[in-house]
């Protein structure tokens, strides 16, 4: 088949991102030609600020080097501006006369800086801040001249001013409005920002209107700078004040660059108008980036442009399913050492009709501590946030804004952030900007801040997933995710968006989310992994280590008895039924129901430990004994010996029921109100063999003194005189979560029924690797109570479904001992090697 021709006009961040996305989906569909007015390959425009500040060089910020274009057979015309589109003949014509015909076209011409009509704006030394040329000119001016004036106290203006200041210039920022960055910040935060920029040596003239830029006399008069005749020398305000200016940077806003589109009579209105598929009014022509107006909005930050690029690529590849529906943006000033974040409707009081819009503001203001936070809440959802000084929760607030999540339950401690309790593993560090480059961010993988910043800059990373892939930071236990997000945000500015938690794809093998996959498996009655992948058009032949275990769980939990468990889609621990260790050996944790054991059992454990030369025997945090360092081929033998004494192994490894911890309770304790040991054993026996989205731990205490630590378990049962209190969704691991009160019940039978019902709804609705605390945070405790507490019929049905699923569970250790086919997994193949001597 003959390839179609795609012509891309604009070799910038949005256009090339769209090409990259297209190549991922349909690498061979088009012959691609790219025109770029700038004499450079695509570079990371947002990093011009660190280049100006002297923290990076131009070479560092190239995103797609020339070889990339060659590798993908893309014809690149740099330094050529397209100035005509002939839509009838379907070709474009560039300023050097070169022509290119197209079947489809993508316009990504970005925007042009807006320069107000101030007399003198044509003078030498008056520039805007948009590209490499401007940046080079500023760097050159800084080495020759002294006085810089930046017109415009917005994001771009302040980054320019900061850069010029760090290059030693005397910089004054002139701003028309009463406070800085008025489109991103409220006054309180802006004033703190101004104070800290002043402390770095920047000067500000607020509410000043520029009247004219004045030409130098060429005689070096004034402060001694050698002014060339055509060059700017001073700036005069409407009130008559004059200040010296050898360099004037105008950062007064940008306008979508629609000149080319308009000349081709494509419909434009504040930008090239596109629909939700990024198509213009000419169906052959698509447009993305700052030049576009989508639903009336032209965006000026890369995160939304990247979303547009993805959608556009989907349509260029003829997939035809993606829709762009607009973005909520966030802002982060990229001035090293200043932590500032805002997102959404942070001014509040704005319902578009001049009314208050029913918003409440939660404010924390500590000027001497250098911290200011404002959260804007409307109808129990967070709609905007401004943070200054401590932005560690910026990503979390942004996510809440984007998701429109109901925050009623967390309202009182919303201000204190996501991690106000129980976060461990990074020494309480919460402010990324203050961290030294050699400070460890990820304790699991030993990754320092400097390494992360370097990877973000040199590899052109924009998302948390990218950073995880390249640096391994935040890819293990995830407790440093907030910090990594902050570092990312402060390095790429508003280019950073947290991924959409609601419909984030399961993994790279699919575009579908966990929720959708679960739904489809049920609705379509899918019972096999291959069939599920086929039905949902998986992109890889047999998935990956992330999606296969999830699919396997969804199938067996949705269709118990029908879907067959697939050992090859299980993590080794669940495949081998023991826990892999760092040296490749395994550990065995014999089950001790409710933490109880007997001298006979202890004797068997001792015998096994001796017989198999177990190097380490240890009490676990789950109140039982761990035999560590057993060779895989010895496992069946170990299990046979334990099994002969009536012991099963303890699932200490699985996404499954783990332990039920108990205290001594009314059986022995002078305070005990309920027989907690017996209760715990009953629960653990009932749940034996239960697979779940993540591991499940229970505890039963005999009285509110709670010696079994029931307050941090997935299910905590606390005996009281009149029965039991049930708590759910606690977690004692990475981030301590206190369990929430579910209800009070009267007797042991009710404990079993309510616990089982809770676990079953979690098993049916939870996403893979989501613990009960995360599941309940997602769906809300009320949803759970509705089914488990308020609706007896539903509770009974859930309870019965769990018992049904557990009915046929076979002891996997006994099988490994008895069945040769299963046993093979543990056997090492011995071969007859022909040694050199034998051959010769």
């Amino acid at each position: 088949m003959k390839k179609q021709k795609l012509v891309v006009v604009g070799n910038g961040m949005a256009g090339i991102r769209a090409v990259e996305e297209l190549l991922k989906l349909a690498p061979d569909l088009y012959d691609i030609t790219v025109f770029g007015a700038e004499p450079h390959p695509n570079y990371n425009r947002i990093l011009l600020s660190p280049v100006l500040a002297g923290e990076m060089t131009i070479q560092d910020i190239v995103l797609n080097p020339l070889e990339w274009y060659a590798e993908h057979n893309i014809t690149l015309h740099v330094g050529k501006t397209v100035n005509k589109i002939d839509r009838t003949a379907r070709k474009v014509i560039a300023d050097d006369g070169s022509e290119e015909s197209y079947d489809r076209m993508l316009i990504a011409t970005g925007s042009t800086p807006f320069v107000p009509p101030i007399p003198g704006r044509e003078l030498q030394g008056v520039i805007s801040y948009r590209d490499i040329r401007d940046t080079d000119e500023m760097i050159a001016a800084a080495s020759e001249y002294r006085h810089a004036v930046v017109i415009g106290g917005g994001l771009l203006g302040l980054e320019a001013a900061n850069g010029l200041r760090s290059r030693g210039m005397d910089v004054t920022v002139v701003h028309l409005m009463p406070w800085l960055m008025e489109r991103q910040l409220d006054r309180a935060a802006a004033d703190m920002l101004k104070a800290s920029l002043e402390a770095r040596g920047l000067k500000f003239l607020m509410e000043k209107q520029t009247e004219a830029l004045l030409r130098g006399s060429g005689d070096g008069a004034g402060d001694g700078s050698a002014h060339k005749p055509g060059r700017v020398a001073a700036l005069r305000f409407k009130d008559g004040l004059e200040i010296p200016a050898d360099l004037v940077v105008v950062a007064a806003g940008i306008r979508p660059n629609t000149a080319l589109a308009e000349s081709a009579r494509l419909y434009c209105n504040r930008g090239i108008v596109v629909n939700d598929t990024m198509q213009t009014y000419d169906p052959r022509i698509y447009a993305v980036g700052e030049c576009v107006a989508h639903r009336g909005i032209a965006y000026g930050l890369v995160a939304p442009l990247f979303e547009q690029a993805k959608v556009c690529a989907n349509h260029l590849a003829n997939f035809g399913i993606a829709r762009y529906t607009g973005s909520v943006t966030s802002t982060k000033l990229k001035v090293t050492g200043i932590d500032l974040f805002s997102c959404g409707d942070f001014m509040g009081g704005n319902d578009g009709k001049g009314g208050s819009g029913g918003t409440d503001e939660i404010v924390l203001n500590d000027p001497s501590g250098g911290v200011y936070k404002k959260l804007v809440v409307r109808n129990d959802t967070l709609v905007g946030a401004v943070l200054y000084g401590d932005t560690s929760d910026g990503a979390w607030y942004f996510q809440l804004v984007k998701d429109g999540k109901n925050i009623h339950d967390v309202r009182e401690h919303l201000m204190f952030g996501q991690n106000h309790v129980g976060d461990v593993g990074h020494a309480g560090q919460s402010s990324a900007a203050a961290m030294a480059d050699d400070a460890e961010v990820c304790g699991c993988n030993g990754v320092c801040k400097g390494t992360i910043v370097k990877a973000i800059k040199s590899q052109g990373l924009f998302t948390l997933e990218d950073v995880r892939k390249y640096t391994k930071a935040s890819s293990s236990c995830g407790s440093c995710t907030g910090l990594v997000e902050q570092i990312l945000a402060s390095t790429v500015g508003g280019a950073y968006t947290p991924s959409d938690s609601k419909d984030k794809p399961m993994c790279g093998c699919t575009d579908h989310s966990h929720g959708l996959v679960r739904q489809v498996i049920r609705a379509q009655h899918l019972t096999q992994i291959a069939a599920t992948m086929h039905y949902l058009e998986w992109k890889t032949p047999d998935g990956c280590a992330a999606c296969r275990p999830a699919l396997n769980y969804y199938l067996i939990s949705t269709w118990p008895g029908e879907a067959k468990d697939d050992p090859q889609s299980r993590f080794i621990n669940e495949r081998a039924h023991a826990n892999i260790q760092n040296d490749g050996t395994f550990s065995v944790v014999p089950r001790m129901w409710g933490g109880l054991t007997t001298p006979a059992e202890l004797r068997v454990i001792a015998d096994v430990a001796e017989k198999y030369k177990v190097p380490t025997v240890k009490m676990t945090g789950g109140a039982r004994i761990d035999l560590l360092g057993i060779k895989k081929e010895d496992l069946p033998g170990v299990w046979a010996d334990l099994g002969a004494a009536g012991m099963v192994s303890g699932h200490a490894y699985g996404k499954s029921i783990r332990t039920v911890k108990t205290c001594v309770g009314a059986e022995h304790c002078r305070f005990g109100t309920q027989r907690s040991m017996a209760m715990g054993v009953k629960l653990e026996r009932m749940l034996f063999g239960m697979w779940s989205p993540h591991k499940v731990k229970l505890a039963v205490s005999g009285c509110p003194r709670n010696c079994a630590e029931a307050g941090i378990k997935d299910i905590g049962v606390i005996g009281v005189d009149s029965g039991y209190e049930l708590y759910v969704a606690g977690n004692g691991g990475i981030k301590t979560e206190v369990a929430q009160f579910l209800c009070k019940v009267k007797n042991d039978e009710e404990v079993m029924e309510y616990s089982a019902a809770f676990l079953q709804i979690y098993r049916e609705e939870g996403f893979y690797l989501e613990r009960t605390c995360h599941y309940v945070a997602r769906v809300g405790l009320d949803h759970v109570k509705e089914a488990v507490v308020n609706d007896p019929a539903q509770r009974k049905a859930l309870y019965e479904r769990l018992l049904l699923a557990l009915k046929d569970y076979e002891d996997p250790w006994a099988q490994a001992v008895k069945q040769p086919a299963v046993r093979r997994e543990y056997e090492v193949i011995k071969i007859k090697e022909i040694t050199a001597e034998v051959v010769s």
């Binding site: 293990s476 047999d542 280590a545 050992p567 090859q568 490749g584 093979r824 090492v828 071969i831 090697e833």
Partner: protein, 103 residues
């Protein structure tokens, strides 16, 4: 000269599964893909020595069980952005039997 050594019938390795062969050069992992190709790698991940035989196999890639690094079964090379390489061995399938070449 190539010394081919008989390992086992293909049926003794599960599809998308693997077996460990003990050899004078250390443990060797033999992998079987979904479409019945076989590959052999030294059973030691270049990252921290994890036993690759215990990983999850997908396509012609294995994910190490210890920290999730992905390696190509074809040549043992780590999939970018990771780097490193596990030694690979020649294997062949003849009449349903897996053969390994150690030299």
């Amino acid at each position: 000269m190539n010394n081919w050594i008989e390992v086992c019938p293909l049926t003794e390795i599960a599809p998308l599964g693997s077996r460990v062969v003990a050899s004078s050069q250390g443990d060797i992992a033999i992998f079987r893909t979904a479409d019945d190709q076989v590959f052999a790698l030294h059973d030691k991940c270049p990252h921290k020595g994890g036993p690759l035989s215990q990983g999850i196999i997908h396509g012609d890639t294995v994910t190490c069980p210890l920290h999730g690094m992905k390696l190509s079964l074809k040549d043992g090379g780590a999939i970018a952005p990771d780097s490193g390489c596990a030694r690979s061995f020649a294997v062949k399938l003849e009449a349903g039997v897996v053969w390994l070449c150690m030299s």
